[in-house]
Symmetry: C2
Subunit: 188 residues, 2 copies
DNA sequence: GAGAGCATGTAAGAGGTTACATGATTCC
DNA sequence: GGAATCATGTAACCTCTTACATGCTCTC
């Protein structure tokens, strides 16, 4: 239930609407490690009010749709702080590409290679996008909040890079094996 | 829908029961990148039969519970092969630890550090377990199937290692910042 | 006698995604 | 005139997890 806690975190910084949480907070800062759907944000906020972790106040606007401003409650703050201190299990991440590779015996090496290459360009694009995020390097970070944000980015960079390195290794291994089998088999 | 495709892959290798798929296949080979729940395996197999991707035959056993042996159909094979060739988007992986770090401004640095250290020992344990898996290194792999299995393992090793490196970086950065602020602030 | 192995299943829920709806205003 | 912004929501669906049930056999 980390969406709930991320919402609590943002609300702890300042009271906001669901819309602002989506467009100004999630999409602009944590999207690369915790993307959040609009529908789900609204649903979760509702539930949080129900559970006493937040309150909402309707602000009437004349030229625009009314909005609900959510604030964190004392109980919400306690819940957040407690969760932040809780150690947890690493998430499992299921990667369809690995399933494809694992069963690549059933397709041509060329087909597998092109799937891997397509993944490579995807990851390259994602890495590029992460690199374009502008946060000072770890050594030059100001307050703790900036350092924390930088460190989360740092993991993104490292893990995309590791994935790309691996893709190269896989592409190499499969294409060199393919060359060998072409030589030993009858010429095609 | 990779569970479906993983099941098709295993059934393509040989007809099997749901129980065997769970205990002999998933738990023993792909668990570290695609763990699968027993309940979900049975449900998915049902659906696959409904969709014409597999068939099941009941084998009556006297001293043990009867079993259903699933086989892949021609349509299932086509579906598998087609999926294997399809490029896909990298999965999003949501990591609660990053959310905790991102909002660590609301807790003591010591608490954050102990969460990170606990994650470190978790990842170390997982890495150790991956290292204990016995598949020949890439250069010495025999058939394509073995190479593919090795490569999936290779990614596991690399990404756990990258995560551990990052954890060290984060622990360093936060504890050195903490030392600094202790010096500049009043002694505690 | 207790527990593990074999083998299949039901029921309920958590978390996330997709598609769609509303209705005013502002910008090109 | 058409698209984007603001702002909230409903309904249906998919994937995965948790808890529980059954009942026989074999081993300690």
């Amino acid at each position: 239930m980390s969406l709930k806690h991320a919402l609590l975190g943002f609300l702890r910084r300042k009271p906001q609407t669901g819309y602002a949480l989506k467009t100004e907070q999630f999409d602009k800062s944590v999207a690369y490690f915790w993307p959040a759907d609009q529908t789900q944000i609204y649903k979760t906020l509702d539930k949080m009010v129900e559970d006493g972790l937040a309150t909402s106040k309707i602000e009437v606007q004349l030229d625009r749709p009314n909005r609900k401003i959510y604030s964190i409650t004392a109980q919400g703050s306690r819940e957040l702080e407690q969760w932040l201190c809780e150690p947890g299990k690493p998430p499992v991440d299921r990667d369809p590409l690995l399933v494809q590779l694992f069963f690549s015996e059933f397709i041509d090496a060329d087909d597998m290679l092109s799937v891997l290459k397509s993944a490579k360009s995807e990851y390259q694009a994602q890495l590029k996008q992460l690199r374009s995020i502008d946060i000072a390097p770890v050594a030059k970070c100001g307050e703790g909040r900036e350092l924390a944000a930088r460190l989360t980015l740092e993991l993104g960079l490292k893990s995309k890079q590791a994935y790309l390195d691996w893709l190269d290794q896989a592409i190499d291994a499969i294409s060199s094996r393919q060359r060998k089998s072409k030589k030993s088999g009858r010429a095609k």
